[in-house]
């Protein structure tokens, strides 16, 4: 039986001025699937991820997330959808003016995810523990290293136990050991909660461990789809080159 579709994108176009970034993206994400997106820098991977939660308004196309037409729904519906989608921003996007604790509490409080204040504190501690940074709870983002910021941002993206997670380069800028841990965490989240994820990455080890399927994006369209093993053994040198 075909699994339930959680994200369906059809013929998505987006340009900035006369720069055509997305040129007809088609994408389907199924429940419990980890889809990797690989592509050269500047091809529009981050733009695509932002379009999915409508942080960027596409020019043309259809986006359906969890059964809702994202481009046609009203603000309340959009907020509802966004609550169910975790987003790890490429640069982390931690709130500079808030401590790590407040950064993680922010989405919890804002969406009234738990009723009791005590529960939310516990939630924060648990999710920091899962990225191994409980010690940093009272630090400000400015005091953290780049890799720590990334992991805190990951904890924040996961804290609401979303149904879908968009990881924009979860392991970039991390050492090999930590990257491996993050990749394992991504798998663990998927297995425990049955979440579906899109993982934008340049890190082939992460792609190998964490993805079920990979799409290669080139100049704003997907050119090939396949599993890590299929693509890395491709007869086309250009495709194989992504996997070195």
């Amino acid at each position: 039986m075909q699994k339930e579709e959680v994200i369906v994108v059809k013929q998505l176009y987006k340009s900035f001025g006369d720069k055509h970034i997305l040129r007809g993206i088609d994408l389907t994400l199924h429940k419990g699937e980890n889809l990797g997106i690989v592509g050269k820098s500047g091809t529009g991977k981050s733009v695509l991820a932002k379009c999915i939660v409508r942080l960027i308004e596409p020019d043309k196309g259809e986006i359906n997330v969890l059964g809702t037409d994202v481009l046609a729904c009203d603000d309340a519906e959009l907020t509802g959808i966004r609550k169910k989608v975790g987003y790890l921003f490429q640069g982390g996007a931690l709130y500079d003016s808030m401590s790590v604790r407040e950064n993680l509490l922010f989405p919890v409080r804002r969406t009234q995810f738990v009723d009791k204040e005590q529960d939310s504190e516990e939630l924060v501690e648990n999710s920091l523990r899962s990225v191994g940074l409980l010690d940093a709870i009272d630090k400000m983002p400015g005091e953290l290293s780049g890799g720590m910021k990334k992991r805190i941002a990951l904890a924040r993206a996961l804290i609401l136990k979303p149904e879908i997670i968009l990881y924009d380069e979860p392991t970039t800028g991390l050492d090999a050991v930590t990257s491996g841990e993050i990749s394992e965490l991504i798998i663990k989240v998927k297995e425990e909660y049955g979440t579906a994820s899109i993982i934008i990455t340049h890190d082939m080890k992460c792609a190998k461990i964490a993805t079920d399927n990979i799409q290669i994006m080139k100049e704003g369209v997907f050119v090939v789809e396949g599993t890590y093993d299929e693509l890395s053994a491709s007869t086309d040198k250009e495709i194989r080159d992504y996997f070195i």
Binding site: L55, D75, Y95, R110
Partner: protein, 270 residues
């Protein structure tokens, strides 16, 4: 980029094509966007959730940042103005008018405008840079996906905070300037504090105080608004942070003078 901000501001009917943007990219499109932004901010003022905590926090931050500069400037203005005016009034034998001349000048015009300009410099640029940095580092986006409207949480709170703190700062500036004037008067002659204050307020009526105070609320509104607008619509890349701060100061200072002029015209008509 700009186009998508327009559509995000939920007035979807306003739609400027990229081409028009390129050829007429100028003051009117900016002005139009500012109007749309203003309407959305005002709408947001009356829409829950009301962010009291953030408002109080921002109020303290903004007030604290400018208090020192505003009070020192007020004090010096009062002192200098008195010393400059004293010989002139003495020539006419009208030295007893000095306190009221100073207080009218300060309360009606100089206090509000100087404080407004200082705040345009300190608050507008601070707000502009802060929000632009939040925009560039995707913090605004992060808020949006966390179920929070940044227009309410970030922008409205800062605009309101400026609306409240600027009038308060003006009152401080006025008070410090009168104190400065009192000290300066005492250089020329011995005056008691009560007599000085009596004379200062003898010529100040409701008609002086009311427009001067209302004016400062508008100053605050536009100082906050312009800072937020420039920051919120910052481009991508770090250099836009500096640009946002800079152009916020320029526009806010200019706006202070325009509002001042409008108020003088209105009060003269009444």
């Amino acid at each position: 980029m700009k186009k998508h901000i327009l559509s995000r501001l939920s007035l979807k009917s306003i739609h400027v094509s990229e081409e028009i943007r390129h050829s007429y990219n100028g003051i009117f499109i900016d002005l139009g966007e500012l109007v749309v932004f203003t309407i959305n901010v005002i709408k947001q003022l009356f829409r829950p959730p009301y962010e009291y905590k953030e408002l109080i926090k921002q109020g303290f931050i903004l007030g604290n940042k400018s208090f020192g500069l505003v009070s020192v400037t007020g004090f010096i203005m009062g002192l200098v103005l008195t010393m400059q005016m004293n010989p002139v009034l003495a020539d006419f034998g009208a030295q007893s008018l000095l306190p009221s001349a100073i207080s009218v000048a300060m309360v009606r015009e100089l206090g509000p405008v100087i404080t407004g300009l200082i705040c345009a410099g300190k608050m507008s640029s601070g707000i502009g840079a802060e929000i632009a940095a939040m925009r560039v580092t995707e913090q605004i986006d992060a808020m949006e996906v966390s179920g929070t409207n940044p227009l309410g949480f970030v922008v409205t709170t800062r605009v309101m905070a400026a609306m409240i703190t600027v009038p308060v700062l003006v009152i401080f500036a006025d008070a410090f300037s009168l104190f400065g004037a009192f000290l300066a008067v005492n250089i020329f002659e011995d005056t008691s504090f009560t007599l000085f204050m009596d004379r200062s307020f003898s010529m100040l009526g409701f008609r002086d105080l009311m427009p001067a105070t209302i004016k400062t609320v508008f100053f605050g509104f536009f100082i906050g608004l312009i800072g937020c607008y420039k920051g919120y619509n910052a481009g991508i890349g770090t250099e836009s942070v500096g640009k946002a701060a800079n152009s916020a100061v320029v526009s806010a200072s200019l706006t202070i003078f325009v509002i001042d002029l409008v108020f003088v015209l209105i009060t003269n008509l009444l």
